[in-house]
């Protein structure tokens, strides 16, 4: 048996960080401030943009997923893998890429200029929506594609044998599947977009495009109105919690029954113009998702050599924060996972604790920590450790999700043998579990480090420009319109985020004891 104490301590730490800071914030908000017209506008904007972003992402993802599901072409696997990449793509790099393509001085405006058309305007409401669709279209596509691939291949073969027209395939197979998959996908994206901070900070144009998360930041850093920041934090948590609960409840089983789980060529895939249309859809989606990133890389590689020393120092700080956050996340997740596994049926009661950070937001936790720290220390001097702690809490759900299945498998396969040998405590962890957790732990560390590396959230709250992380330094360069340096910093950030993920993920696979 493994002692429960570390697991209980980890659970308490996570609860303290999420619920504890929320209580601190709530006490502070009590009777201090009232929501003004600007705050109501922020709430409206948050809900409207999240709904629109989710709706558009899903609506655009359906044709892309359908095309990917029924066509086979060279590079299909790579493209589907790349659809997973935006998860660890730093948001600020994505924003810079979108500016390079859709900005006033971007490629699209140049093309429009050849035809005598005015340049496009990317700041404000539609810029925020554009960025959210860019960041979430891949996720939506992957979720819906899974839905398509979950329809047993035999159903499509039957449809082809019966000579069903595409219209009938849509009615009998695809629509029921979409009905079960799309609401969940849309709600997940809605939830992600309600906590949008970096996009609104960089592309939002003043009061017209302010999310609640951004309003917390403004109340905090611009007006130092802690009461209002706290009140807005409660609003933010209420929105997130509602969205999270609805998202969990929206998963509807599809009921296609089981097939033989084979990959087959889709004979039913319509030919002729539909084939061309599918090709065009895939090409357009790939161009929309890849061109901005390629534009940043093209702009930035040249500037990489001439980056100011401050950017390299910021990169060093970011790597440090990312490594600390990843280590912390694992240090919390491992005891938690062991505790959940050990508690058996009661594990279901502990597991939600780890997911609390999904229902709260980095800025809410940051606000709470600030209120706690301020009386005893200079919070600005503690900006980096606080950022690492908050980033660890935010990536904890993903880390735990990566560890749990492997842990369950290991215990199911070898647990009874280990029990009969009286293998408990450290020995059980060292010889039975850790070798089997190596791969998922490597993946989880990589994910956590990459997420932390690219994060522009709580660090902006405590910001000391001289102690900036790389995403913050990049934001400052953008603010100063030093676009060459910004592109260089973006390439560095992109490289470091992907590099950290690769190193850990790879490290987990190397010499993994079978």
């Amino acid at each position: 048996m493994i002692r429960a104490l570390p697991g209980v301590a980890a659970a308490l730490a996570v609860a303290g960080l999420t619920l504890g800071t929320l209580v601190v914030v709530a006490l502070r908000a009590e009777g201090v401030a009232r929501l003004g017209p600007g705050d109501w506008a922020a709430i409206r904007f948050t809900l409207v943009q999240a709904a629109l972003s989710a709706g558009l992402s899903v609506a655009l993802a359906i044709p892309v997923a359908r095309a990917l599901a029924r066509r086979r072409f060279a590079g299909r696997g790579v493209l589907i893998t790349l659809l997973g990449a935006p998860f660890i793509l730093p948001v600020i790099v994505a924003v810079l890429g979108l500016l390079a393509i859709f900005g006033r001085n971007g490629a699209l405006s140049s093309v429009l200029g050849w035809f005598g058309l005015p340049p496009v305007q990317v700041y404000g409401f539609h810029g925020v929506i554009l960025a959210h669709v860019f960041l979430n279209l891949p996720l939506a596509t992957r979720l819906i594609l899974q839905g398509w691939l979950a329809i047993p291949a035999e159903r499509f073969r039957l449809a082809a044998t019966l000579g069903l027209a595409p219209r009938d395939v849509r009615r009998l197979l695809e629509r029921p599947m979409l009905r079960s998959v799309v609401p969940g996908a849309a709600l997940v994206i809605f939830l992600i977009c309600t906590t949008s901070f970096a996009v609104a900070l960089t592309l939002g144009g003043g009061p017209r495009a302010t999310t609640v998360e951004l309003a917390i930041y403004q109340a905090f850093t611009l007006e130092f109105d802690l009461g209002k920041a706290a009140l807005l934090s409660l609003v933010q948590v209420a929105i997130c919690a509602c969205a999270a609960v609805i998202a969990l409840g929206a998963a509807v089983p599809a009921g296609f029954g089981a097939g033989l789980d084979r990959m087959i060529a889709r004979w039913d895939a319509p030919r002729g113009w539909r084939r061309l249309a599918d090709g065009a859809i895939i090409a357009a989606a790939a161009a929309f998702l890849l061109l901005p990133i390629l534009a940043v890389i093209a702009d930035g590689l040249m500037a990489l050599g001439g980056l100011p020393a401050g950017v390299w120092k910021a990169a060093g700080r970011s790597v440090l924060v990312a490594l600390t956050a990843a280590a912390l996340a694992l240090a919390l997740a491992l005891p938690l996972a062991l505790l959940i596994q050990r508690a058996g049926r009661f594990g279901g009661l502990i597991e939600p604790v780890a997911y609390l950070s999904i229902a709260t937001s980095p800025l809410v936790i940051g606000t709470g920590l600030f209120i706690l720290l301020f009386p005893v220390a200079n919070p600005v001097a503690l900006a980096l450790p606080v950022t690492a702690v908050v980033n660890a809490a935010m990536s904890l759900p993903f880390v735990l999700r990566a560890l749990m299945p492997a842990l369950r498998d290991a215990e199911a396969a070898h647990g009874r043998l280990a029990d009969s040998l009286g293998m408990t405590g450290w020995a059980r962890l060292r010889y039975l579990l850790l070798p089997r957790l190596r791969r998922p732990a490597g993946f989880a560390l990589g994910l956590s480090a990459a997420l932390s590396m690219g994060d522009l959230g709580v660090v902006a709250l405590f910001a000391d420009p001289a102690q900036a992380t790389l995403p913050l330094a990049l934001y400052q360069l953008m603010g100063a319109y030093r676009m060459d340096d910004a592109a260089g910093a973006a390439v560095l950030l992109l490289g470091l985020s992907l590099g950290l993920f690769w190193v850990f993920d790879r490290g987990g696979r190397l010499n993994a004891a079978a």
């Binding site: 600007g38 700080r317 001097a381 450790p385």
Partner: protein, 330 residues
Amino acid sequence: MRYPIIAAGLFATSLPAAAQDTPVLTIYTYDSFVSDWGPGPQVEARFEETCGCDLQFVGAGDGASLLSRLRLEGARTDADIVLGLDTNLMSAAADTGLFGQHGLPEVAYDLPIAWDDDIFVPFDWGYFAFVHDTTRTPVAPGDFVALAASDLSIVIQDPRSSTPGLGLLLWVQAAYGDRAGEIWDGLSDNILTVTKGWSEAYGLFLDGEADMVLSYTTSPAYHLIAEDDPTKAAAPFAEGHYMQVEVAAKLASTDVPELADAFLAFMVGDGFQDVIPTTNWMYPAVTPDAGLPEGFGTLIQPETALLYSAAEAVKAREQALPVWQEALSR
């Protein structure tokens, strides 16, 4: 778990070394003051010639962000002096209780207003104005109503983070009072974007993203003198122009009070003041012996100067900010 321990060690080493021979004077100021082309480098070099100290400027966003930064850090701040607040923020700044009295003898200021304050010391002043490029916008609007009716795009700054942004808020409030909401409603479709600070807004304007930018009547002097470019002009507005007096003050918590006092005395002397016109592009608080540079004669001279007293400005801001937010969030 070795990582947190290593990290803790590395975090600790990134803190500034505490024990140093020369005393350090830390001054928080706005970004454009410390930029390579701003007054910061020259001021630093000149003061360090005589003070036997290490003067460190720390850029912390635009003027109004300075105050937020100080409130965030509280009495534990490293700052000894804050340079770059203005009269509109003085009352709020004094209320924090973080600032100490300057103890300067009486100074013969060349300000358009009488100055008597025992905490804040003025270092320059100017009038806010919308600046445009005469080649792109040959005829500029003559007041806010005409600007709102035009289809010119403008960039302004957030009054919560930027002193020019706050100046514009109070300008409209002082000129239109209860009708300020109408003016902002009318302006809202002209506003391309609201930036956090002056530097971002002026950068957007120079990149050609907007037709006009909120800046100062003195801004064209920069283009004329430094770049030999006569195409930038400030538009005179019939309502009058809101004035800004920029100030510095000493933190009560400073560990080098004598040095801070010495800097404030240096600040109102020639060594600092004759750098201001051609680096900060504002009118000096004490006109240097050599007078103003030549190009300053070509600048527009507002007929009416608008300015709230520090106490009035707080009330006017409280009244005007929700109106601004509401008009611009529609």
